[in-house]
């Protein structure tokens, strides 16, 4: 039996749909969020239609069942049934979209504040464009001292930061579930791996209240650590964060 080209296209789309659902949702246990899944499926459908219609013959075969359904007088009953199903389906989708929900609205915001050029901390002004970690030089000059500084940074971390950012630095500390936005996951390739050390200094020293006015409210629960830690302790904890995660701070020169 020859499968119609339209049915074949539907089967191919169905295979991709099932793959995403089963592979990510069941096997990896990390389902793809609806917003992204819709985009994926939209372009997969477009891709399938392009492949099935790039030849004149292929396009005709793809459209022929639809054309037949719409134009063949003998298929009036089926046409009415299909029209009915399509209408009800469209109504169902619309209802799903507009029905009242108790769920909190989606947040489109990206929690990724841009740093200012200058900050004030410890009664001093820091130029974030030129600010560097004063201990970084020991990496080459005195590796033993550097190791000790990282160790001390680790102590600072486990005495102060790990409650929220977690003992694996993955943002899953004891109190993490109480926050929205969640504490930063330093293990993620998109956080400290993408940032300069001066950025981390700014975020740690001035905390949530130090975030820029633009795009407020940030809702960050990050304390103002300059009130609790010394400048040196902040630089040490930054060394520890990069050492533990294995990432290298963003820079424009090779280290």
């Amino acid at each position: 039996m020859k499968i119609s080209r339209l049915l074949l296209a539907v089967i191919v789309i169905g295979i991709f749909y099932s793959f995403f659902k089963i592979f990510f949702g069941i096997i990896l246990k990390q389902p793809i969020p609806g917003s992204l899944f819709t985009m994926y499926m939209f372009f997969i459908i477009i891709g399938v239609l392009l492949v099935f219609s790039f030849t004149e013959q292929g396009a005709k075969e793809l459209m022929s069942p639809i054309k037949d359904l719409l134009e063949n007088p003998e298929k009036m009953m089926m046409r009415n049934v299909v029209f009915g199903i399509v209408t009800i389906f469209a109504g169902f989708i619309t209802y799903q979209q507009v029905k009242p929900s108790f769920e909190a609205p989606l947040e489109l915001r990206t929690i990724h504040p841009a740093p200012p050029s200058n900050i004030s901390a410890y009664n001093k002004s820091y130029n974030l464009l030129t600010l560097e970690n004063p201990f970084m030089k020991y990496k080459k000059e005195d590796p033993e001292k550097f190791k000790q500084l990282i160790y001390e940074g680790g102590e600072v971390y486990f005495k102060n930061c790990f409650y929220c950012h977690g003992d694996k630095l993955d943002g899953k500390g004891h109190y993490a579930h109480g926050f929205n936005p969640l504490p930063a996951n330093f293990m993620d390739v998109g956080t400290i791996a993408q940032l300069q050390e001066s950025y981390l200094f700014w975020r740690i020293a001035t905390g949530g209240p130090g975030l820029p006015k633009e795009a407020a409210p940030w809702l960050s629960s990050m304390p103002v650590w300059q009130n609790f830690l010394s400048e040196e302790e902040i630089w040490k904890v930054i060394l520890f964060l990069y050492d533990y995660t294995g990432y290298v701070p963003r820079s424009w020169e090779k280290h």
Binding site: P31, G34, G47, P113, L182, G190, S198, S251
Partner: protein, 617 residues
């Protein structure tokens, strides 16, 4: 006079040198692009220089008396911005600037490839090229006057709504603004002689005079764009002024600011791609309304050529864009993060979708075009694999790092990032995907080239093996560079690894084309190539290409300008108008979309004008 190939070659070398001369001059000048430094280093240097300059102040005072005094950047209040009832100043400027830019990009690009096509016509002695080049320039001529109209509207709007800002810019760029105005005369004169003299200067030595005028037209046009780019980039990365915005008197320093060259390159390449897509839409318009077979064949060929130009320029465009973005990051981390990690990040997802749409429509056009020859049936079976790879890359290309999730999804994933898809949200994955997408688009083109031919050279089998090996090697290299350097090394290597990725892609294109040209020299035709024998669907792909390009330029132009946020001139002159806030994503997208609709409506009007101008009573 006999036009030998040598003369043609010499001509194109001169063309290249003239077009590239502003860039070459930059690189060879003392303050070359390579000596430019990020804001951080510049500021640090300025502090040092200020300290060192103190003892020499007395001598400097004497010298300063001879120099004209320039004012600092004004500190404006909201009341300094005039209001006109019923108009929002920012929207007027936004739309006027954007429409001016769309038309300007088009009219600057068309003469570039018209000159090349005219040159090909001279070299091949094929009259069809000359006819097509003439038709292309005819479209751009109508658009030229509209460009000037929108330029005028922009200038007047700036005078009305932002007079103090314009005054400050005029204090710094007075000389370049005057140069711009004079060059505009030169541009108009050369364009009119080039167009109206087309038939007069058609034969013999006169043709070379005509080509030379075309060359001058392009050199002037490119210089005009570079001057305007200086004003725009000065607003983003000001150079040649002190911290208070006082002009130091060096014109070259303000022109040659940090982002000038990256923008020059990006806009130059993008203009060509954009110009190609708009004339492609014109060809599609004429194809769909054609009455005769000959007319259909002509406009099919024209559409194919325009698409070829657009795609040839589109392929290197992501790399030019990446360079520009890397330079923005290098200049200011604040602007860089605002651009791709902050408030504008979602617009980049729309950008990614539109770029994917460009690649898909360009590929679809090529696949449909294979229907021109029955010989192409051999290759139809490969299309589904090419489509699979391109779609897979496309999905990676637009996967965001931070996902939009419901509370239930957030809970299921345990955080705002997807464990397996999250890493696809950063640049190394995007670079890898776009390089592979480009390679497979190129593969579509290679198959199209072979559609109606069979290689007759004895080494054809080895040629195919070599091409396959080059492709495979490049893909392995691109994936390795993307995965290893992108995720397991530091940022310098991460950003740096994009260069060998691009080099791999470009190498494939160059080597495979060389092998293909040699392999198919004297090839046997399997079936005739029937121009005009393409489905109407393919022409809509050409329309989609032009609309996507226009929308893309509008959105990205807004982002480029918007990352200055509340600054007229970044970190120098603050915007204190009531509109100094960053609008929401939806609002910005609506304004840009309104611009696109206005632009497309005018473009269709131009197409119609061209159609009626070729009708006989």
């Amino acid at each position: 006079m006999k036009f030998s190939k040598k003369i043609t070659l010499t001509f194109f070398i001169i063309l290249f040198l003239v077009l590239a001369s502003p860039i070459i001059l930059n690189i060879t000048s003392k303050s070359s692009v390579f000596s430019l430094q990020p804001l951080s280093i510049v500021l640090a240097e300025e502090v040092k220089q200020d300290a060192a300059a103190a003892p020499a102040e007395e001598t400097a005072v004497k010298e300063d008396k001879a120099k004209p005094a320039y004012p600092p950047a004004p500190k404006l209040k909201e009341s300094d911005y005039p209001k006109v009832k019923g108009f929002n100043g920012r929207i007027v400027i936004w739309l006027a600037a954007q429409l001016h830019l769309w038309f300007a990009a088009f009219v600057l690009a068309v003469p570039i490839f018209v000159l090349i096509i005219e040159g090909i016509g001279v070299a091949t002695k094929d009259e069809r090229y000359d006819k097509m080049a003439y038709e292309f320039i005819k479209i751009s001529l109508t658009a030229y006057s509209i460009t000037a109209v929108f330029g005028g509207l922009l200038a007047f709007s700036l005078i009305v709504f932002y007079p103090d800002f314009l005054k400050y810019m005029a204090n710094i760029f007075g000389s370049t603004m005057l140069a711009y105005a004079f060059l505009f005369f030169a541009e108009s004169a050369s364009l009119y002689i080039y167009y109206y003299g087309w038939n007069w200067l058609k034969h013999g030595f006169k043709k070379w005079v005509h080509l030379t005028i075309g060359l001058i037209l392009n050199a002037v046009g490119t210089t005009l764009m570079f001057l305007a780019n200086a004003w725009v980039t000065f607003m983003m990365s000001p150079g040649g002024v002190d911290a208070a915005g006082v002009f130091q008197g060096n014109d070259w320093a303000v022109i040659h600011n940090f982002l000038w060259n990256p923008i020059n390159l990006h806009r130059f390449v993008a203009n060509v791609a954009y110009g190609g897509s708009v004339v492609g839409a014109y060809a599609a318009y004429r194809f769909l309304s054609a009455q005769t077979r000959d007319e259909k064949a002509h406009y099919d060929w024209m559409g194919y050529t325009a698409n070829f130009i657009a795609i040839a320029a589109l392929l290197p465009l992501p790399f030019a864009g990446y360079w520009l973005t890397a330079e923005i990051y290098a200049y200011s981390q604040q602007m860089g993060i605002t651009l791709m990690g902050g408030v504008f990040a979602w617009l980049f997802i729309i950008q990614a979708v539109l770029i994917g749409a460009l690649f898909l429509s360009a590929n679809y056009y090529l696949w449909c075009g294979m229907g021109r020859s029955e010989g192409a049936v051999r290759y139809n079976k490969y299309i589904k694999y090419i489509a699979f790879v391109i779609i897979a890359c496309f999905l990676v290309w637009f996967t965001p790092h931070t996902l939009v999730m419901t509370q239930a999804e957030l809970k299921a994933l345990g955080g705002p990032y997807h464990k397996y898809l999250g890493p696809l949200g950063i640049m190394p994955a995007k670079n890898t995907a776009v390089n592979i997408m480009i390679l497979f688009t190129f593969l579509s083109f290679l198959l199209y080239r072979r559609a109606n031919k069979v290689a007759t050279v004895s080494w054809a089998k080895y040629g195919n093996i070599a091409q396959t090996a080059i492709f495979a090697g490049a893909i392995i290299n691109i994936v390795f560079l993307g995965v290893y350097y992108g995720y397991f090394t530091n940022t310098v290597l991460k950003v740096g690894s994009s260069v060998p990725q691009v080099a791999s892609t470009l190498s494939v294109i160059i080597f495979c084309i060389i092998i293909d040209v040699l392999m198919f020299k004297g090839a046997k035709d399997v079936a005739p190539l029937k121009w005009g024998n393409v489905p109407d669907r393919s022409q809509y792909a050409l329309f989609l290409l032009a609309v996507s390009f226009t929308w893309l330029m509008g959105l990205m132009g807004y982002i480029r300008s918007g990352i200055r946020q509340h600054w007229h001139v970044y970190a120098i002159m603050r915007d204190n108008s009531a509109d100094a806030f960053t609008p929401t994503i939806g609002y910005s997208a609506q304004i840009v979309s309104i611009g696109v609709i206005i632009f497309m409506a005018i473009v269709i009007f131009i197409f119609w004008l061209n159609q009626i101008s070729s009708k006989k009573a």
